[in-house]
Symmetry: C2
Subunit: 369 residues, 2 copies
């Protein structure tokens, strides 16, 4: 009961205007000062007069603008959103434990592009953090709800909760997922073209002369993994190489982990190149590198390695592996463009963005037999 007294709003209740200086002025005050109606103020300030062909005389415009300026009027974003379903705010929600604002964070490069494009489109950004649990959940339906404060929302991460997303999509709330995603029907997304990029890497290896290539992937059926595997197999087939189930190894497969012995065995069978998928942890790549090292194999010399993605930040100073780079900033920017389209009512479907091939220094011709 104390709490209600001095909340964020200057005058919560029906208390009459205070004696001294007015608190934050409303459009009504501006209107009074300018000698016009509140509706006119709204029209002028939102610039909708010209946009909607509802003209306002230059004189009136000036009066209103003067009044607003002298009173220091600023709009209430909550009220705008309530009344018009627009407040020029774009939400960004990521499903990692904490803030993706850390530079080392793998989502960071996306945000760079997101922010640029958002600014270019006249939107401000609002980041919602994923971890908090305490929130306002009256219905308990979930923390995702607060994104409705914004005009639309971007989602980052492999593990966005499908049901909550489905709900937003069903309500026709503008949502764009960064990363390909089939799950909620009708969800818009932007994704990197892992299939083509992976195919290209395999083709390059084949071009160097490799006849047996092995993919090391994690045991996780996210689209990002599936797509890479498909591109990998496509590439094998396209180059006339054997593409049986033996060409793919899942860490966690029955038969144990990725060990030096296993690598030696493969090499003995004729495998001359290894390809690892990239994930947010980079586990597959690390495991592969470790095993090859432990087996005492020289990398560009005896075996070739490639990474279907970019190396993790902490390995940035090692020689760049063959592979491809995901244009993360571009993806972020494209996501914003899609979202803006959704907000404007235009439909939007999934969009693929091409990756850039990276020759790197970890691949060469196979050793002579």
């Amino acid at each position: 009961m104390v709490a209600k007294e001095a909340a964020g709003r200057a005058r919560p209740g029906r208390t009459p205007a205070p004696a001294g200086r007015r608190a934050r002025p409303r459009q009504a005050e501006v209107a009074r000062l300018a000698g016009v109606s509140q509706a006119t103020v709204s029209l002028v300030l939102s610039g909708r007069d010209i946009a909607t062909g509802r003209p306002i005389s230059a004189e009136t415009r000036a009066k209103v603008l003067d009044a607003a300026h002298s009173l220091g009027y600023v709009p209430d974003p909550a009220a705008s959103r309530l009344a018009a379903a627009r407040n020029n705010l774009l939400g960004v929600f990521s499903f990692t434990a904490t803030f993706p604002t850390d530079v080392r964070h793998s989502y960071y490069p996306f945000l760079v592009g997101v922010e640029q494009e958002a600014a270019a489109q006249g939107y401000d950004l609002v980041l919602f953090t994923g971890s908090s649990t305490g929130g306002a959940g009256a219905g308990g339906a979930g923390a995702l709800n607060r994104v409705r404060l914004a005009d639309g929302c971007l989602f980052l991460g492999r593990h966005a909760p499908a049901d909550e997303l489905r709900r937003l999509v069903a309500d026709d709330f503008p949502v764009v997922h960064v990363g390909r995603r089939d799950e909620p029907e009708g969800l818009a997304w932007v994704g990197a073209d892992y299939v083509s990029a992976s195919r290209e890497v395999v083709t390059a290896l084949a071009g160097l002369g490799h006849r047996r290539v092995l993919l090391v992937r994690e045991d996780d059926d996210a689209p990002a993994s599936t797509d890479r595997e498909r591109g990998f197999l496509d590439g094998l087939v396209g180059s006339g190489l054997p593409a049986g189930p033996g060409a793919v190894f899942r860490t966690g497969d029955p038969g144990g982990d990725l060990t030096a012995d296993r690598v030696r065995a493969w090499v003995a069978e004729g495998v001359t190149a290894f390809v690892a998928e990239e994930t947010d942890t980079g586990a597959a790549w690390r495991a592969l590198r470790a095993a090859v090292d432990a087996a005492g194999l020289d990398c560009p010399g005896q075996v070739s390695l490639a990474l279907l993605g970019s190396p993790p930040a902490d390995l940035a100073d090692e020689p760049a592996p063959m592979g491809f780079d995901i244009p993360r900033p571009a993806l972020g920017a494209e996501a914003v463009r899609l979202l803006a389209a959704r907000i404007a009512g235009r439909p939007a479907e999934g969009t693929l963005v091409a990756c850039a091939f990276r020759p790197g220094a970890t691949a060469g011709p196979p050793p002579a037999p």
Copy 2:
């Protein structure tokens, strides 16, 4: 005109309810289904019935909750905020160019504490990004305005715009600044006690036997710099050492930059220990290290170095310098506590938090003359 048609809201205009499944249900729908009034729904869902001693029968409560659940009701945060001036959202605004590539993580540790404490207090977090310029600014008054979406807001950074902050404070919007700050009268803040911590470092150096100590600081009059200088000078005086203006060097001072020659000159004059202030870029510390290195001076042996703060993350693997650690997560948590108090209407003033002295490995006794 196309735009208005399919905005974020399911049914923007006065169009009657659609034929098929209803879009996002309102309290009114819940009320209808439960056979009670909308007001009762609000009371039950907000839990305010028991809180305010306004009793609701268990039977009615159950009916309402059932209805809300079966309809999948979720509250509209914008409407909550508008009606009650509360939505359990805490804003966080930082004033560095939003996603700067090199600096960012210096605020990261704060956010860790902020997030934890916010969750503990039942708040969700919303991050506002600083750079965007395109936003809704009808009044042009500024991007800070959107923080009003939240119940209150935390501000991070040395260079928060004073006038915009003043405005929020004047409007009695709950604001807490992380970092000591005098500027807008009545602004609540939490800060680290740089004065005491810096004094302690100087005292430690004096205790090792140093008689002439020099402070290297940036040419920036933020309170964080001023406080460190004051503590530094206090420490000199307290230890009976000379504390004239010659004891402080500002990078950017007339007379040029921090060079190896200059360092040699100081050493020739009898300076045996150097102290650098910490800033978000770590520029002073970097410059000092570089100059000492270039001068060919051995660090713990010929000169002692200390850093008034923590080393930047990219230097984390070097030996830790003498200095102090700012308890950033604790500061963040304390800031949230203050902000929650402000939101609840309790007044809140500035709060200082103590830093932890760090002996480090860059300081030893001065060389024998």
